[in-house]
């Protein structure tokens, strides 16, 4: 039963090899989806290309559905899967800063690396600046430390927060996604085409 490495079914030293292989899949799909182009990514914010929303939502739902069924069939123990802990303040504030970085820079870390791999110079600059940003954060860490740990809720699951069952939340998420896909497709049709 998975996760295989956490359970010790696959030896720990396979970890890095698997990381590399999984990474190849990750990079390949991102590039194939068009995430290496900043103008395609930015389209989601101006209504001319909703590829980000489609790929992002579909991926989250696929993985979520897979995990729920895997768990049910006893192939994976969801309790052993890492759930990122919720720190309300830092998650929102960090998200806001990232959002500004996204709309100004046109990439996120993963996609900038994809763009850089195929020769986008703006992606390379973005990727290099990530180091600067993290370095600045590291140097001023004492300033942020208190904020980092404010509003801690622990590794909460969203359906617990909303007080419903996991399955019902999954169903709702699917419905929301489908509605979003439909609406954005309409918006995209109406929007002025942007050549890039």
């Amino acid at each position: 039963m998975g996760p295989l490495i956490t359970q010790g079914i696959i030896a720990e030293n396979w970890n890095f090899i698997l990381a590399f292989v999984i990474g190849i899949g990750f990079g390949f799909v991102l590039e194939q989806a068009g995430f290496s182009s900043s103008r395609k990514l930015a389209g989601v914010f101006y209504g001319y290309d909703f590829v980000v929303l489609r790929v992002f939502f579909t991926a989250a739902i696929t993985a979520m559905t897979g995990m729920i069924f895997f768990h049910y069939f006893g192939w994976i123990d969801l309790d052993l899967v890492y759930v990122n802990p919720t720190f309300l303040t830092s998650a929102i504030l960090g998200g806001v800063i990232m959002g500004m970085g996204f709309i100004v820079g046109g990439f996120c870390p993963g996609t900038s690396m994809c763009g850089a791999a195929i020769g986008k110079i703006d992606a390379m600059v973005f990727f290099a600046s990530l180091f600067v940003g993290i370095f600045i954060f590291g140097e001023t860490y004492s300033m942020w430390e208190e904020l980092m740990y404010a509003g801690s809720l622990g590794p909460r699951k969203v359906f617990d927060t909303l007080n419903m069952s996991q399955g019902l939340f999954a169903l709702l998420l699917i419905v929301v996604a489908l509605v979003a896909f439909y609406i954005t497709a309409r918006i995209e049709k109406a929007a002025t085409k942007v050549e890039y």
Partner: protein
């Protein structure tokens, strides 16, 4: 809208409805019988009374002692800092944070080794890690630490060294006699670091 997307949407909704009605399942992590046998055949699960004495003298913060005897026995005598988890409460979730702590060595003891060994089996079956047994239990503790017997004059030097440390330890723990003092340590329960489930470290 495109027909194929309509079909896929329908499929997704069906999956969603199935998910909504899937009963919740819970898996406990367990160690396989083969691995358990492997651990049973080597002696690494034991710590000696001398080692435990050293932990206590040094007030090692990485060690948590668990007393698996009855509460009455625990009241009468216990090792400093120990937490009482009677045999019938071994699986009580309230005690789980004491037994299964991050980066802590858990040492189980009873009067002899039998109950502690049973508790060890149970906890290993639950896949708690870093669980040890104090070899010989409190009987051994009294014999070796509280009332150490001087080695025969012909004994090797190591025996005398051991004896000396034991005498020193004995003095530390109240000197020569079994102290049946109402244990002063139970007042301040050791701080517990809640164990994060053994999920892999993640993050972006």
């Amino acid at each position: 809208m495109n027909k194929k997307y309509l079909f896929l949407s329908g499929l997704l909704i069906v999956l969603g409805i199935i998910m909504a009605f899937l009963p919740a399942k819970k898996y406990g992590v367990q160690i396989s019988p083969e691995n358990l046998l492997l651990e049973l055949t080597d002696d690494t699960r034991f710590v000696s009374t001398d080692e435990v004495a050293l932990y206590l003298i040094e007030a090692d913060p990485q060690v948590q002692l668990i007393d698996v005897r009855t509460p009455e026995e625990f009241e009468l005598f216990s090792l400093p800092g120990a937490v009482n988890v009677p045999m019938d409460s071994l699986l009580n979730p309230n005690f789980e944070p004491y037994v299964d702590q991050v980066g802590m060595k858990t040492v189980l003891y009873s009067n002899g080794s039998v109950y502690a060994s049973q508790a060890w089996m149970l906890y290993r079956r639950k896949a708690y890690s870093n669980i040890y047994i104090m070899k010989g239990g409190l009987n051994e503790w009294v014999e070796t630490i509280l009332k150490p017997i001087a080695p025969a004059a012909t004994s090797p030097k190591e025996a005398f060294d051991l004896y000396d440390t034991r005498v020193a330890a004995s003095q530390f723990f109240g000197g020569g006699s079994v102290v049946v003092a109402p244990n002063s340590s139970s007042g301040s329960k050791p701080a517990v670091q809640r164990k994060k489930k053994k999920a892999a470290k993640g993050g972006c």
